[in-house]
């Protein structure tokens, strides 16, 4: 893990991992999605489950 002795901070520059599903497979980060799929992931809205 990165440590900056000057500021005594741990983890500077380390990004959160956001696991998402793309065409059935999980991907560790949206950085590796292609442009179309990245846009698709951004547009997803949630589905209210209450009627189920």
């Amino acid at each position: 893990m990165t440590y900056n002795p000057d500021t005594q901070m741990v983890g500077e520059g380390v990004k959160f991992e956001r696991i998402r599903r793309i065409t059935g497979y999980l991907v560790g980060t949206v950085d590796r999605f292609n442009d179309g799929k990245r846009a698709e992931e951004r547009d997803r809205v949630k589905h209210d489950p209450t009627k189920c």
Partner: protein, 772 residues
Amino acid sequence: MLTSIIKRDGRVVIYDRNKIKMAILKAMEASGSTDFEKADLVTQAVEQHFNMQNSYATPSVEEIQDQVEHELMASGLDNVAKRYILYRASRNTIRERKSKLVKVFDEITFSDALDSDVKRENANIDGDTPMGTMLKYGSESAKDYFLKFLLSPDQAEAHRDGYIHIHDFDFYALTMTCCQIDLIKLFKGGFSTGHGFLREPNDIQSYSALACIAIQSNQNDQHGGQSIVNFDYGLADGVRKTYKKLYLKNIAKVCDVLGENVSYEQLKEMSAAITERCGAMPKITPDKTYVALELEELKKLCKDPAVAEKAQKFALEKTEDETDKATYQAMEAFIHNLNTMHSRAGAQTPFSSINYGMDTSDEGRMVMKNVLLATDAGLGHGETPIFPIQIFRVKEGINYNPGERNYDLFQLAIKVSAKRLFPNFSFQDAPYNLKYYNPDDVRTEIGYMGCRTRVVANTYDPNNEITYGRGNLSFTSINLPRLAIEAKGDEDLFYRNLKKYLDLCVKQLMDRFAIQKKKRVRNFPFLMGQGVWIDSEKLGIDDEVGEVIKHGTLSVGFIGLAETLTALYGKHHGESEEAQKKGLEIIGFMRRILDEYSDRFKLNFSLLATPAEGLSGRFVRIDKKRFGEIKGVTDKEYYTNSFHIPVSFEISAYDKINLEAPYHALTNAGHITYVEMDGDVSQNLEAFEAVVRCMKEAGIGYGAINHPVDRDPVCGYNGIIGDVCPRCGRRDGEGVPLEKLHRLGLYKHLNAATLGQCGNQFEEADRIPNKI
């Protein structure tokens, strides 16, 4: 006089009238015209034209070809002219592509994956690594070659112009897509990977290791993902063997401690002899006859009969727990291996899936429980495992309702999926899955390949309507929105063109099949050489695979039903009942045509709800360029996945499921429905389960629930992270004071000095255990 011409590269060469004549003859042949003597006349007319111009300027190739077109039409040879123009256009684009290929190579060589869509075509290949880049060169050149030399001009044009998309095109002439691997058949008697022989495994540890190797080996023989169809039944034998081994070792241990001279080898012989007599062996639920006979024999082996009793009692009490632990470790290793092992020149982690859920034996249940628990625990630092895709088979009478034997596992599957996104759920009771199911033959249980592929019906061999050892051969998708836009509201025209492209796809799949058919067993050392593919065990190493691959499917897929309906009728199927009706008509029409082809050729043509990773962006990009931005059709950066309701459309889970379910029945090559749930679903398992049950009741074949799964590598928090990590309070990319981490009980063995030395080490001791 026409004596010389200027070539495209500027060189002047001597005019050769035969070249014109040959081109015309070829066009005649392609159009079915037999007026061969006219070829000469047209050539003469072209020459006359240039001679009459009375100019000394040397004509260019293009000018001559323009004139040939003109003369062909003037002579009433319209069809020949059309062929000539098509051929000319295709040659032109081929020339263009030559330079395009070089441009692609430039991009592969000099840009980062972050800036290059080409390098992110497949999210699971790291386009920045040397091997990933090498694969990309190969893939792009192969595509270029196949497009120029293997496809017929009309197929090449349709693929290039984005009417259709031939999937895994870089593997066009090489292999088939995927296969459902039957572990029991593969492990029996051991197998060879092509690099060495592996004996039949003897405990759960080696079963799990060999299962990984099977996936890895097969991935190198095919271009798609790999799936184990019977993970539960397949690994249960490993648990059985481990139990027996540990059981006898426990007896030996007690005997040893209590001063008896009875070795493990002796016990093995004794046990085998009893099994010979009564057919039973040591197992989790003990067989009474075996236990009684064993005690008799043990007493004969021991000096003191009381020791025999103690030893057996100890083994009966302790072995199950030890076997459970060993199984957990094996499952943990399985998942870790699948997330770290490499295939395809090291650039890719194998795409793996496992199906399970219906084995009710103690041993199969132990496998399932532990693979779920290992998934729940996550990888070394608690990360969510990316592989394998896990598919839990839901079946009434087995695991769906309280009181059923595997109901506890269904509950566990829900809990794990709510935390880790896997397992997905497949539904054996969906009518189109149930119809193939025979409770006496596990090979008829439904199987899905990770992303959605499904193979079960068998027109080629109706006696083998099973999932084991079969898979998809290749698939091609149709750009439905394009056909809808071009129809301009004319439904008849839309259907005529849809039929035209279905026919074209079938022809193209057949052409590809003709290439695949000629391959030999030696081309697939694992898939065919080890009998993984159905009936391949009957073939010799030099035999062609043509006959056995007829068990596979040839699939036509589609993308963007929502945009198609919007273009044709103004609304998509989420917005209007009428549109839903129309949507089902379109997809039903496609299915009917493919069924007819299946009957006609006695092959398995099937209809796929295409997953479309790279494709979703590609089609819409081309269409936006062609037709401009059309509201609800080309105004996004992607076309909607298969028959899905658009991801941005507000709809309840219930409505989405019920609108999509009827399409599952039609898409026999595979389908999946997703529901997006908000918030931390692991805190709301009732809602999660309700969605799964809703899918089952609606007749969904295969479904999954998406929800946010985030992780902060700094403090190890796993869950939902908005802008700020709920555990350590940092924002994306920010640092956290070491002192604060210490207060949280993290990094407690680390200080400013050791942190630097440790590099990326995240102390095991600092991890928060995942409660199960």
